[in-house]
């Protein structure tokens, strides 16, 4: 291989593996991926309903009975999924795949590093923030993906309403970050 070709290859490797892709490229790809998900899973991309199942199966491991929760007793398809277990659950598989995919991309760029929590305020923010996202997504029938991205793309009014109010929430959250976490 000539020196010129070797340099070109290095450059291409860098572009594909190391450099970040433009946001708009991500936007187009995510749009296409959501369509693919809708085709293969009979419903669009969603992230947070899976967390209910993860919580239920963990609770089961500790001897609990999640099948008594109204979320399952009042929704037969959800109960069926609960009985099916983790390895049959598309939502779980896609979520775990996401985590692994992100790791793969980071490692391929040799950019992986464990980032530890810096302060107790950060810890509290993570705990409280997670709790709010979990409960909020149950009320709104989804999160930034299921209610916002997929809801709007499904031409559902709830998606647009979600979008307006998540924006307000982000504004309030920013005020808190600047005031307490900077």
């Amino acid at each position: 291989m000539t020196a010129r070709a070797a340099a070109e290859l290095e450059h291409l490797k860098k572009l594909m593996l190391k450099d970040a892709w433009p946001y708009w490229v991500g936007g187009i790809l995510l749009g296409l991926l959501n369509i693919i998900i809708f085709i293969y899973m009979a419903s669009p991309w969603g992230v947070t309903t899976t967390f209910v199942f993860w919580g239920a199966w963990i609770y089961e491991l500790f001897g609990g009975h999640p099948e008594t929760w109204s979320f399952f007793t009042m929704q037969a398809p959800m109960m069926q999924t609960l009985k099916g277990g983790l390895l049959n659950h598309g939502g779980s598989i896609i979520n775990i795949g996401l985590i692994v995919g992100a790791f793969l991309a980071t490692a391929a760029a040799s950019q992986f590093k464990i980032k530890k929590i810096k302060s107790s305020r950060q810890l509290v923010a993570a705990l409280v923030g997670g709790l709010m996202m979990g409960y909020g997504s149950r009320l709104a029938f989804g999160c930034n993906v299921g209610a916002y991205f997929s809801g709007v793309s499904s031409m559902s009014l709830h998606g647009w309403v979600f979008g307006i109010f998540i924006f307000i929430g982000a504004y309030l959250g920013s005020k808190l970050v600047v005031k307490y976490l900077m």
């Binding site: 980071t106 929590i117 810096k118 976490l181």
Partner: protein, 75 residues
């Protein structure tokens, strides 16, 4: 030309960008801010903001997942 270092390692979004914006407002033209980060979001949004402001920006990878962003206030 004064040099200021900001350690933003371990900070969550959007703290690095907020710190960069705050510091760049305070410094003089010709001063340089060096920001240490380990957040992939900051790696993108800090240089993007700084370049939009017209500043000179250079990014150097210090080790795996750690970068130094050099911002020179030009105007």
């Amino acid at each position: 030309m004064a040099e200021f270092t900001i350690d933003a390692l371990g900070e969550a979004c959007p703290i690095p960008l907020l710190k960069a914006q705050k510091k760049c407002k305070e410094i003089q033209v010709g001063d340089v801010v060096i920001m240490n980060i380990d957040h992939s979001c900051a790696l993108k949004n800090v240089p993007e903001w700084a370049r939009k402001e017209g500043y000179n920006v250079e990014v150097e990878e210090v080790e795996e997942g750690v970068w130094d962003i050099y911002i020179e206030k030009t105007a």
